[in-house]
Every structure is written in structure tokens, then in C-alpha cells.
């Protein structure tokens, strides 16, 4: 068995591959680095796969918490892992958009799923999952409800600030000016999409474009990104787990390479 662990800033993910390179365990826990989320999610995935820690031959850890996690054989960046995970799901993507808790990345990959170029957000929460978390809080809704809310939008409300803190004030102003929660939610999605589109253009992104990371669970965000990039953006299967799956594939490959 081969384990991939992705310790993000706001969630922990685990993927387990068997000897035949088949996914036998997949689990997510919405607790990130510095919490006991990693132990909870590992237990879940082990139970699901019906394995014990003794069955594990190789473990790769990725994500923001990769440097401090001591239970892995090696650590690899989330950039390479998302590319590997995307390739595992057999898609022909040339560009990956990964929006996680505190990072937004645009990754260009070659046919073999190797990274050829990438761009990441600046030292700022604009364009990341954190931005949407802040928006959900101000709109007094759950993060998971943002998509349905935004889909019901009838009117364009522009959130122009690129700064999360200022955007929060801007949203509050919009709400007090009588704009609907739905329209503001849509405006927030468009703001993230515009930010990511800038990064996409900077690395000369090309279709087909897929999306990974937790924010890909937000269907309206996918629509806004597709509009902004003028191409269809498709989420990969299990987008939030793409990094963990990629790490598990690396674990599989590294184990077999070392055996040769």
C-alpha cells in the first residue's frame, strides 16, 4: 500500500493506492496543519482501505504542512502532486487551476503530467479559498452554500478590491446598500476568477483546463472561471484530493524505482 498525505492550511487529505495502483482509500478532514486533523483522516482512510499502518510501503507528504510532518518517507510540493494527481485521473489537461485554502496556483503540464511552468498567488489571500471563507462569514452563510447562492444571482455586483480585508468592507457596504446576498456572492466569485485569470495569462495557460483543490467543489466558481478564461473549466474527480492522490502516485513510483 502506498499513501499520499496532503496537509493543507485548512484541511487534511489522504489517498491510498494498492499494489495495482488502484485507489482504495480516500478521506478528507476539514482541519489543517497544526491540528490533529491528520491523524483523524489517516485513521479514516486506513479503515476505508481495510489496512493497518504495517501494510504501508511508502508514504509521500505534500501541502503547506509537509515540512513538519515526520511520518513520511519523502515530501514533494503540492505543485508536482496536483499535476501527478491530475494525470492519474487520465485527463488530457494542459493547464491546472488549483485553489486551496491559502494558495492559488496555475500549473501547466506536459503530456506525461510533468510540470512545465506554474504561477502562484502573491503573499496575499486574494484569489484563494481563504478569500471565499471570509466572504461566506460576512454573508452569514456556510462555505458550501456560496455556490447555490451565487447561482441565484440576478444582477452584477462588482467586488473590485483585490485585497481580502478591503473586499470584506466592500461587501459590507454592498449589503448595507441593499444588494442581495446572492448578487454579492456572485461578485465575490467573479473577483476570485479575475485574479486567477491574471495568473493563467501570465503562464500562457492553454485549454483543456481542469480544476483541483477544495474550491473546485464550488460549482458556480467553476462557471465564473470558465466565463473569465473563455474556455470550459472542468473539475477533476475528487478535486480536493488531487494533491493527496498525486502524492500517493509518487509514493508508488518512488517505491518501485528504489526496488529496481
Amino acid at each position: 500500500m502506498f499513501v499520499g498525505i496532503d496537509i493543507g492550511s485548512s484541511s487534511s487529505k489522504v489517498a491510498i493506492l494498492n499494489e495495482n495502483k488502484e485507489l482504495v482509500g480516500l478521506a478528507v478532514e476539514n482541519l489543517g496543519t497544526g491540528t490533529n486533523g491528520i491523524q483523524i483522516v489517516l485513521d479514516k482512510a486506513f479503515t476505508q482501505a481495510g489496512v493497518t499502518p504495517e501494510d504501508i510501503k511508502y508514504t509521500v507528504v505534500t501541502g503547506y504542512g509537509r515540512m513538519t510532518y515526520e511520518g513520511a518517507d519523502t515530501q514533494i510540493t503540492e505543485i508536482s502532486c496536483h499535476a501527478k494527481g491530475t494525470a492519474f485521473f487520465n485527463c488530457d489537461a494542459k493547464t491546472i487551476i488549483d485553489i486551496g485554502g491559502q494558495d492559488a496556483k496555475v500549473i501547466k503540464i506536459d503530456a506525461a503530467g510533468n510540470v512545465s511552468n506554474f504561477n502562484m498567488n502573491e503573499k496575499c489571500a486574494a484569489g484563494t479559498g481563504r478569500f471565499l471563507e471570509v466572504m461566506a462569514r460576512v454573508l452569514d452563510c456556510k462555505l458550501g452554500d456560496l455556490s447555490d447562492l451565487a447561482k441565484a444571482s440576478k444582477k452584477d455586483v462588482s467586488i473590485s478590491s483585490v485585497c481580502t480585508v478591503f473586499a470584506e468592507s466592500e461587501v459590507i457596504s454592498c449589503l448595507s446598500a441593499g444588494e442581495s446576498i446572492s448578487d454579492v456572492a456572485k461578485g465575490a466569485h467573479r473577483a476570485v476568477a479575475r485574479r486567477v485569470a491574471g495568473m493563467y495569462n501570465r503562464v500562457s495557460g492553454e485549454p483543456p483546463v481542469v480544476m483541483t483543490g477544495g474550491v473546485a467543489l464550488n460549482a458556480d466558481m467553476i462557471t465564473c472561471l470558465s466565463d473569465e478564461l473563455k474556455t470550459t473549466v472542468t473539475p477533476v474527480s475528487h478535486p480536493q484530493l488531487a494533491g493527496a492522490v498525486g502524492a500517493a502516485v509518487f509514493a508508488y513510483e518512488k517505491y518501485h524505482k528504489a526496488k529496481k
Binding site: Y64, M67, I76, T77, E78, I79, S80, D103, N114, V115, S116, N117, F118, N119, M120, E122, K123, R202, S204
Partner: protein, 409 residues
């Protein structure tokens, strides 16, 4: 055999100390002291025996000692925006606080400005001149849009050169000695030649030079090009590196291999020098060249004043995007680069505003992977360790893939 030769490291430390001590002494003796922009025509000042301090170099030293925030807070408290160059904020703060643990410098009797490195320096020096009630001497350097410095620019700068000498004669009450100027020009040319020769030893694979040493030695290239001792310093450093190279030694200790060779674009993160260096070294990444140190490879013919003013206009910071792309692509080949590291330096608008386009064009031409990271030359609030490491590690993974694809090491 005479007495044992001093190492270049010893010479550098001694010269740096002497540089600042000389300025303090000049001030104490009532001689004029100048604060000068880093790529200004120091030949004139040196020939007229004017003590010079370079605020950019001084700010970098303050940054490296991790005390820049005190000065930045002072400047920002007096109304200077956080978006202004942090060298300017540190120096403007110093002009008020007048003491730094890293290094004290005398206040200037005039400022010597050359705008061939950016536009910010103009307003920065104007404000210093106004605050301190001292003259500002300016050499305006037209930006070079074309492949060559136009003849009209050379003529214009030559007239300015003569005018500046007259201004300085008035300020100091001394006459310029053309013979002495000729001598200083010879020395400066020689120092620049050995500066270039030393860091060019990194062409060898593996490089005997660790790129962060280049950032350290650059202090002498900026502040002391006109001194004979500087020629000796760079020649010694060159000889040491050449010897290392001939012995097959890499940039670090034996056993610490150079696995990847990268170019560092932009100024160092002086406040995070150790982190930026150690993270790269951890992955076997050596900075073998940079677009930045080459700026002080200021060369011209013997007593060639037209050539001198031209040299100060035709360096990297005063040139077009096309020049930058050509230059970086040539460095990529010459230094056999595996990757390029772009420091998106919040302070430096000149370098940042064109960086995205340069990245795009250089990648299209060379196919070399790159990454950029956020940082600042002396404002420690911009850089993030974890973000830097993720970007470096991801670049390493891409470089490794490319090497494997090529069947390399």
C-alpha cells in the same frame, strides 16, 4: 616569499571598514561628504578627493543586520508611503535617526544623484536635499530605448559631466585635476575588469563561486571602484576562485554538490539573506549569475570621457525589455542554467513592472523553467519563508524532471 597574502575575505572586511571610517574622518576634518546613488559617476568624486557614502549600500547593511524596520517606521511615520522603495525609506529614516547598530555614516554636505537606476532616486534625493538644506548635484541619464546609446545622449551627458565638475568645484572650492581623473578612470576600469573576471569564474560547471558571495563582494564594486585597493581585492578574489575551479571544487564545502545552476534576477533580500541562501543550498541550487552585479562592470577606454558617460547609460537597469531578454538568454547559455529565480522585489518598480514580460519572453526563447517569489530588498514584511521554500522546491522538481527527460544527472 614575502608575508602571507591576505584572503579576499579579509581584504573585503578591511576595505569596507576603511570606506566608512574615511567618510567619518573626512566629516570630522570638515571636508565635504557626499551621499551618492549607487551607479553614479564616482570617478569625478574620487578624483576630487570627496568622501562618499552610498545610501543603498548602507541600507542593505542595515537590512542584513535586521534593523531596517526602525528606519522604515520613522520614514513611514513622517508620511512616506509603504509603496516607496525601502532603501529610500531606510535612508530617509536614517537621515533623521542618525544612528544604526550596523554602521554609522556622516550626514552629507551634498547629494550626488544619477537617475540611471530608477526614477525614485530623483525624488528621494530631492527630499534629502530639502530636508538637510544641502545642494543636489544631478546627472540625468536618458533611458536607452534602442539597441545602442544614441549619440545625442552621449553629447548631452558629456555636457552634464563638465557642468557637474564645475558645480563640485564650487562646492569644494577645489579645482579638478584632469591627470588625477585619468588615473581614477584607469583604476576604476581595472577594478571593474577584475570584478567581472571574478564572478565570471562561475561559468565553470560546477561553479567555484557561491552566488551569495557575489552579493557580498558587490559592496566593494558599488562603493570603492575608484580605489587601487579594490583592484587588488577583486584580483585576489578572482585568483582564489580560479584556483578552486582548477582543483575541481564546487561553490561550497566538499560533499555539498551543486546540482542545479540558476540565475537570480533582481536585488538580494538583505533582510532574509540567510533563509534565501540556505533554502537554495539545501536543494543543491547555486546562484551562478545574476542580472544585477553585472551593472557595475562599467568599462570604457583610456581617458575616454564619451565612453565613460556612455557606460553609465548602457547598463541593464537603464535598458529596454528587449535588451534584458537578450542579456538573460545569453547568460542562460553561457552559464548553462537549469532555472531562473525572479525576485519580485516590492521596492523596485523598475525591475518588477517589466518582470512578467521578461519571464514570458525568456521562457519562450530558452525553455528554461523559472519561478518568482515575493520579497523586498530591505522591508522584511514582504517575504515569507514557507512560500519561498515551496516555490524553490517546486522549481527544483521541474528542473529535475527536465534533467531526467534529457537523461542527465
Amino acid at each position: 616569499m614575502g608575508e602571507e597574502r591576505k584572503s579576499s575575505k579579509q581584504l573585503l572586511a578591511e576595505l569596507q571598514a576603511k570606506h566608512y571610517a574615511d567618510a567619518q574622518q573626512a566629516k570630522a576634518e570638515g571636508k565635504p561628504v557626499a551621499w551618492s546613488a549607487s551607479i553614479a559617476m564616482q570617478e569625478i568624486l574620487e578624483a576630487m578627493d570627496i568622501a562618499v557614502v552610498y545610501p543603498e549600500n548602507h541600507a542593505a547593511a542595515i537590512g542584513a543586520r535586521k534593523e531596517s524596520m526602525e528606519f522604515i517606521n520613522n520614514a513611514e511615520g513622517r508620511g512616506y508611503s509603504t509603496d516607496i522603495c525601502s532603501y529610500a525609506r531606510v535612508n530617509i529614516g536614517y537621515s533623521d535617526i542618525k544612528h544604526a547598530e550596523a554602521q554609522d555614516i556622516p550626514l552629507p554636505d551634498f547629494v550626488f544623484c544619477c537617475d540611471n537606476l530608477c526614477n525614485t532616486v530623483l525624488k528621494w534625493y530631492e527630499n534629502l536635499a530639502k530636508d538637510l538644506n544641502i545642494p543636489m548635484v544631478l546627472v540625468n541619464t536618458p533611458f536607452v530605448y534602442d539597441d545602442e546609446v544614441p549619440e545625442r545622449s552621449v553629447k548631452y551627458m558629456r555636457k552634464e559631466f563638465d557642468h557637474v565638475i564645475r558645480q563640485l568645484e564650487e562646492i569644494t572650492g577645489k579645482k579638478m585635476d584632469p591627470k588625477r581623473l585619468e588615473e581614477v578612470m584607469e583604476t576604476s576600469n581595472e577594478a571593474a575588469k577584475w570584478w567581472k573576471a571574478a564572478y565570471s569564474t562561475a561559468v565553470k560547471n560546477p561553479s567555484p563561486l557561491s552566488g551569495f558571495d557575489m552579493f557580498n563582494y558587490m559592496a566593494a564594486a558599488v562603493t570603492m571602484r575608484g580605489k587601487k585597493e579594490t583592484v587588488e581585492l577583486f584580483r585576489t578574489w578572482h585568483d582564489e576562485l580560479k584556483e578552486r575551479g582548477e582543483a575541481g571544487m564546487g561553490p561550497w564545502k566538499p560533499g555539498e554538490d551543486e546540482k542545479y545552476r540558476v540565475l537570480w534576477d533582481g536585488i538580494a533580500c538583505w533582510t532574509n539573506l540567510s533563509t534565501t541562501f540556505k533554502t537554495l543550498k539545501k536543494y543543491g541550487v547555486n546562484v551562478v549569475c545574476s542580472t544585477y552585479p553585472d551593472i557595475w562592470n562599467l568599462r570604457y577606454g583610456s581617458n575616454d570621457l564619451d565612453g565613460l558617460v556612455k557606460a553609465y547609460a548602457e547598463h541593464y537597469a537603464n535598458r529596454s525589455i528587449k535588451f534584458s531578454v537578450d542579456k538573460m538568454s545569453a547568460l542562460a547559455e553561457e552559464f548553462q542554467l537549469d532555472g531562473i529565480l525572479y525576485h519580485s522585489n516590492r521596492s523596485c518598480k523598475l525591475m518588477d513592472f517589466r518582470q512578467y514580460e521578461i519571464q514570458r519572453q525568456v521562457e519562450a526563447r530558452t525553455g528554461i523553467p523559472y519561478v518568482s517569489f515575493d520579497g523586498d530588498q530591505t522591508d522584511p514584511r514582504i517575504f515569507s519563508d514557507a512560500q519561498y521554500e515551496t516555490r524553490i522546491q517546486a522549481l527544483v522538481e521541474v528542473m529535475e524532471n527536465k534533467k531526467n527527460a534529457k537523461g542527465g544527472k
